[in-house]
């Protein structure tokens, strides 16, 4: 398709490509430049900074709140993706490889969770978590995150699993391996790239969540970055600590952008496979 089309069309699509890149990057460059402006220049209404200073970064890392939130976010998102992907892997294997009557039930459950409004269970979880001691703990957030990412995990893993050459499994079964051995010894290594991609998608979801974090945490114990940033307080109630917020935003955005850029092709496949074929 590349070689086709008149030169006019080529110019048009080329122009479009540049527009897309600009569209995607404007707020990122903006928040980066905001974070590098010295406090005195924060209100200069300019897109790029006139002078560069790392004061805001120093401020957020000297405070105890932000490093704690960063640690919570990394830990909680990692645990959530490990668990969601493990459970999702079992379910996806059964859906793709086994004939059993529960397939529709699993897919139906996944579909209903995918459209489920999280706000609907905030109240009960708030009440339950306080009763059983999960309020303001890592587990209190890991549980909802792994649940709400299971549909994504199951769909995207099933899509990846369908591409695997399953004849190898048959061979292993003929050589006397049990179904479980065939799964863990032969197929799991082949499935690794899909599993890895799915983990990234789940990680991004947990990393991004604000509603559960804002409702089910109250201290540095388990408060994650989005909640910490949203509740950052400056010297007065009416003045946002703009510089610190911008610096914290850059710190949590850069790693995700790197991840997304490096694994771009796989992430696109994982995201769309679920929705289109699921």
């Amino acid at each position: 398709m590349n070689a086709e089309g008149s030169s006019n069309e080529r110019v048009l699509w080329g122009f479009g490509s540049v527009a897309v890149v600009v569209y995607a990057l404007i707020p990122v460059v903006w928040i980066l430049s905001l974070s590098l402006k010295p406090s005195a220049d924060l209100n200069d209404n300019r897109f790029f900074p006139r002078a560069v200073s790392f004061d805001h970064y120093r401020t957020i890392f000297q405070d105890i709140q932000f490093p704690a939130a960063l640690w919570n976010s990394v830990g909680i998102a990692t645990l959530s993706s490990l668990l969601a992907v493990t459970l999702g892997m079992f379910a996806a294997y059964a859906i793709v490889r086994l004939r059993f009557p529960g397939r529709r039930l699993v897919l139906g459950a996944a579909l209903s969770i995918a459209i489920f409004p999280p706000i609907a269970i905030i109240g009960p979880l708030f009440d339950l978590w306080r009763a059983v001691g999960l309020f303001d703990t890592w587990a209190g957030l890991v549980l909802p995150y792994m649940t709400f990412t299971l549909p994504l995990a199951i769909w995207s893993l099933s899509a990846f699993f369908r591409e695997i050459p399953w004849d190898l499994e048959k061979a292993a079964r003929m050589d006397g391996a049990t179904p479980f051995q065939a799964f863990s010894r032969v197929i799991a290594p082949l499935a690794a790239p899909g599993v890895f991609t799915t983990s990234i998608l789940v990680f991004i979801f947990a990393w991004n969540d604000f509603l559960f974090a804002a409702s089910l945490t109250s201290t540095n114990n388990a408060r994650t970055v989005p909640a910490a940033i949203a509740f950052f307080t400056g010297s007065s109630r009416f003045e946002l600590p703009t510089g610190s917020i911008a610096a914290a935003s850059v710190v949590v955005t850069v790693p995700i952008i790197m991840l997304v850029l490096v694994f771009q092709r796989r992430i696109v496949a994982g995201l769309t496979a679920g929705a289109v074929k699921g």
Binding site: V20, Y23, A24, F100, I121, G123, P124, L143, V260, L271
Partner: protein
């Protein structure tokens, strides 16, 4: 043969059980519990005074102006953002599909808004539109305090939503676009069909299922909007959405009875939207779901 099938079925259930159980315990049980709580006057500041009140909480929510205004606000944001996203998402998908150079760069760039934390995106745009720190007024030559008036606040909120989620819409549409056979388009071109004709007569009809799935997911997602509104206005200027009302009643005012009634009503609204979608588009979505996997 039979016992082999039975063991395969048993293994299937065994492998799916953890996922099904987790989903049931963390969503089905709490939503049932929410319904139960919604039948009580139950304020966490006065936990001893919990009394059964039947459907009284629903009556007070459904007769309150706050609920209906927030419902209107939510629908304004949902319809406003999803409509623009569909058009813009199509443009993005076409660029990604046809990009003559830098195709990888374009696809990678599009993932940036997807990967960014919603709270961060909302703050970035809040600062950008802010009259004292932002560059938007300077760029447009305006002197507008965007987030202090209802309609301009809606514009900023919807704009942020569009920026953040159009890439996801575009990727879903792109997946649909790649299913349109190139041969068909080439044949139509040879037969003298213009680009516009090819788009409306071939591409669009073939993409109908992909469009419906994308619309369904994005509509339900937009209806749940919380982060952007909370960060940008906290519901001020009459921009409260149903999720913000739910959060304020449950977590800020600790009124679990009334808040649970709000939760159940939001849940019911989502179910109604989903059913309407599936009904309105008839078998198209059904067939898609049925084919899998």
């Amino acid at each position: 043969m039979k016992s082999w099938m039975r063991s395969e079925s048993r293994l299937g259930w065994l492998l799916c059980a953890p996922a099904i159980l987790t989903m049931a315990v963390v969503t089905a049980y709490p939503i049932a519990y929410a319904f139960w709580l919604s039948l009580f006057r139950y304020d966490l500041r006065f936990p001893r005074e919990r009394t059964f009140v039947g459907l009284a909480n629903y009556a007070s929510v459904l007769t309150s102006e706050v609920w209906w205004r927030s419902m209107v606000n939510t629908l304004i944001i949902t319809i406003g953002s999803v409509t623009v996203e569909l058009v813009l998402g199509f443009a993005l998908a076409l660029v990604m599909h046809r990009a003559v150079f830098g195709r990888r760069t374009v696809r990678a760039a599009v993932l940036v808004p997807y990967g960014i934390i919603t709270v961060v995106a909302a703050l970035a745009w809040k600062f950008a539109f802010d009259p004292t720190t932002g560059f938007v007024n300077a760029l447009l030559g305006l002197d507008q305090a965007w987030l202090t008036e209802r309609w301009s606040a809606f514009l900023v909120i919807i704009f942020t939503e569009i920026w953040k989620t159009t890439p996801f819409m575009a990727l879903l549409l792109l997946a649909g676009l790649t299913l349109v056979p190139d041969d068909l388009l080439r044949a139509a071109r040879v037969d003298g069909a213009s680009a516009t004709q090819r788009f409306f007569k071939i591409t669009l009809p073939l993409m109908k299922p992909a469009i419906l799935v994308a619309l369904l997911f994005r509509t339900l997602d937009a209806f749940r909007i919380f982060d952007t509104v909370f960060v940008q206005t906290r519901g001020a200027q009459d921009t409260e959405t149903v999720s913000v009302v739910g959060y304020n009643t449950l977590v800020v005012r600790l009124n679990l009875g009334l808040g649970s009634a709000v939760s159940v009503l939001i849940f019911v609204s989502v179910v109604i939207i989903a059913v309407l979608f599936v009904k309105a588009f008839g078998t198209s979505v059904d067939r898609e779901q049925g084919e899998s996997p």
